[in-house]
Amino acid sequence: MKTWRPEEGDDFDTAIDAAWRKASREEPRPHVDAAILAAARTRRPWFATWQPLAAAAAVAGLAFLLVQLLPRERELEQPIRMESQQPAAVPAEQPGVSAKATMQGSTEPAAIAPRVRENQVRKLDQPVPDSALALPQEAVEAGESLSDAAPGPRQLSKEPRASGELAAGAPAPAAAAERAAARAESSSLAAPTAQMPPAQWAKLIETLYAAGDRTVAAAQLRAFRTEHPDADRYLPEALQEWASAVE
């Protein structure tokens, strides 16, 4: 062997080595040599060299696309959660009711309330005093007296919390059920406001609209119209277009 250099202790018996090499001289047959040499001469096609790189690039491209699509899914989820949480904001703003909710250990409506105010200022571009959100005490009491027929403000302050808990850990199919429950709640909201002065009622609708809770606002508007046929007259200009679409 040309490349072999015996090391210390490698030489055991040169006579045996020589005798072995003399005796052992078999070689592969020519057709075996020809097959191996033919394979060795065959160059790989150019695309075979680039194939792994192309595959890696394709995988990277797919991964990039997936990453681009993921945030969109999150954006879609957010409005659903907001919709299920928003009914909780309305009762939280009602004096007496929010106090009761705090006493019961419900902290979520209080946490959402500042956001409602921010939205109101941002969207209507005019400050709305907190008093505009307040329901008269008699309306609250009336609501409580109707608790057998429809959930009153206290009950409402509890139920959105429950739905909020569901939204935190519930699977997607539960979201539809939550929305249906929120709609039912919003229609029942009209009952305690029946004796409210028209201007204050209109303000409440405006606040709900500004907070983005169109479903509850529409329910309130319908109740408002039932009680006051000229209800639309009390609504601000900004809500007129939306009100005309509410049947």
Binding site: M1, K2, T3, W4, R5, P6, E7, G9, D10, F12, D13, A15, I16, D17, A19, W20, R21, K22, A23, S24, R25, E26, E27, P28, R29, V32, D33, A35, I36, L37, A39, A40, R41, R43, R44
Partner: protein
Amino acid sequence: MGAAPTTASDESDESQMLAYAGGSTEAFERLYARHRGGTYRYLLRHTGNRATAEELHQEVWLKVVRARDAWSPQARFTTWLYTIARNGLVDHWRTRRGTRFVSLDDEGVESAVEAALMHGGEEAGPLSMTMHVESGQRLVAALEAIPPAQRDAFLLHVEGGLALREVAALSGASIETVKSRLRYAYGRLRTALEDLQ
């Protein structure tokens, strides 16, 4: 395998392999011409069947061809070449003997391998093909009689031209173990030749 990169002179196996990876088929032809006999005889002495040895020999060299782009001179070319050959041999025995694993280093299965080599159907006898000289026949017969692990060490050393440490690294044994195996193998072959004289 040796961890340190091997520096290759122009005529060395390593530089020929690198040249082949660079597109020189002549370099491969030189490399093949140097080692074709050694790998073939290594496989022939272990399998005892010309057709099987040729089949394995072809597989070994086709693996070399396929690995040309990925090969780097981390160890001697011959160490790498005989590692491929040895692995091919072990796979061959494993296939032939079903799911049972046969290791060249496993002294416990030496007798089973020996029996398979000596009485295995088409494989009439591992080393009784083209030996024309009587001393050669004696040597072959003596090598046939020694345990596979010792035979393997002898063949890697003599046919492959591997140094002791390379045989040790390739077979996963210590240098002292390999030395012991080689002493035993040489002793048996020496006795075979002395009986002739």
